[in-house]
């Protein structure tokens, strides 16, 4: 019974001992290294600023615009050619009225 009590006490002490870990200073020249890395990053990222205005929202809007424009043109193209296609079909299978009236028949 006493052993169990001691074990629990030891575990509690062990868990609480983690709070005794001391705060440490950063390694020497850490700040210089980070500033150097940030400087490199600044040079790398500059060309991207040209297209900064092209936000994801604008990109989606442009894509949707492109899709709708294409769908519209496709629809118009289809309906404009419908009569012509019908005529060609009729001529191919000899159903055209203009063919019946031909002097060759």
């Amino acid at each position: 019974m006493n052993d169990k009590k001691n074990t629990f006490k030891h575990l509690d002490d062990l868990i609480d001992s983690v709070s005794d870990i001391k705060s440490v200073d950063t390694p020497p020249f850490f700040k210089d290294r980070v500033l150097n890395e940030l400087g490199k990053l600044e040079n790398q990222e500059q060309p991207l600023l040209v297209l900064n205005w092209l936000t994801p929202k604008l990109q989606i809007a442009a894509l949707l615009g492109f899709v709708f424009l294409n769908l519209g043109v496709l629809y118009q193209y289809n309906s404009a050619n419908k009569d012509q296609e019908l005529e060609t079909f009729a001529q191919t299978y000899g159903l055209s009225s203009s063919q019946e009236k031909s002097i060759l028949n």
Partner: protein, 202 residues
């Protein structure tokens, strides 16, 4: 007194604007003010000085990249803590995946050497006294086995010494959730440590 508050507020606002404008002077000040906090937070999650230094560097790079997204809804320190925690957890996840990958390779018969230790890094915490190193290594190993949410709350409260309120702000949880997670973390730690010491013939 009110005047001092106003000056501080204006100074903070200007500081944030300078950070967003990516001015080197502002980042120099940011590093002066936060490098110790970031390094120690990373060290609490990844107790290896070299690894923690790499993660801390990544934290500042992330701050530089995403400062424009910081809306000021929370304190700057809270936001920096959050990035430090996320980067540390990301590092641990990557290391664990690499360990699992190594293990799978060894099963498939390839000659990749596997690291058989359960812990993801070599324990080398400069803030731990030498005579307590072995004991603390065991404890950190046990903390590593906790579920992620419990691990975060326990580490921030017990090792970094943050209050429940601060931990709640960083983890975006209520104080009661933090308390509950901490309670479960301690309970699980006791179980893990008991099993470990039983195996050791204690």
């Amino acid at each position: 007194m009110q005047g001092t508050h106003l000056l501080n507020f204006l100074d903070d606002k200007q500081f944030l604007e300078d950070l967003k404008a990516q001015k080197q002077q502002a980042y120099s000040r940011l590093l002066d003010e936060y490098q110790k906090l970031v390094f120690n937070t990373c060290l609490s999650f990844v107790p290896n000085a070299e690894d923690a230094e790499d993660i801390a560097q990544e934290v500042f790079i992330e701050i530089y990249r995403s400062i424009s997204k910081f809306k000021g809804n929370s304190k700057l320190s809270t936001w920096i803590y959050r990035i430090s925690v996320n980067k540390s957890l990301e590092f641990i996840r990557k290391k664990n995946t690499r360990k699992r990958f190594g293990f799978m390779h060894s099963l498939s018969g390839s000659s990749v050497p596997i690291d058989k230790t359960a812990y993801f890094t070599e324990f080398n915490h400069p803030g731990v006294q030498l005579e307590l190193k072995e004991q603390q290594e065991t404890l950190f190993n046990a903390i590593h086995q906790l579920p992620e949410a419990q691990k975060v709350v326990f580490t921030l409260h017990k090792i970094d010494g943050l209050s429940y309120k601060e931990v709640g702000e960083i983890t975006q949880k209520s104080i009661s959730s933090v308390e509950s997670l901490l309670f479960r973390a301690k309970k699980n730690l006791k179980q893990i440590l008991t099993t470990y010491y039983k195996k050791e013939g204690w």
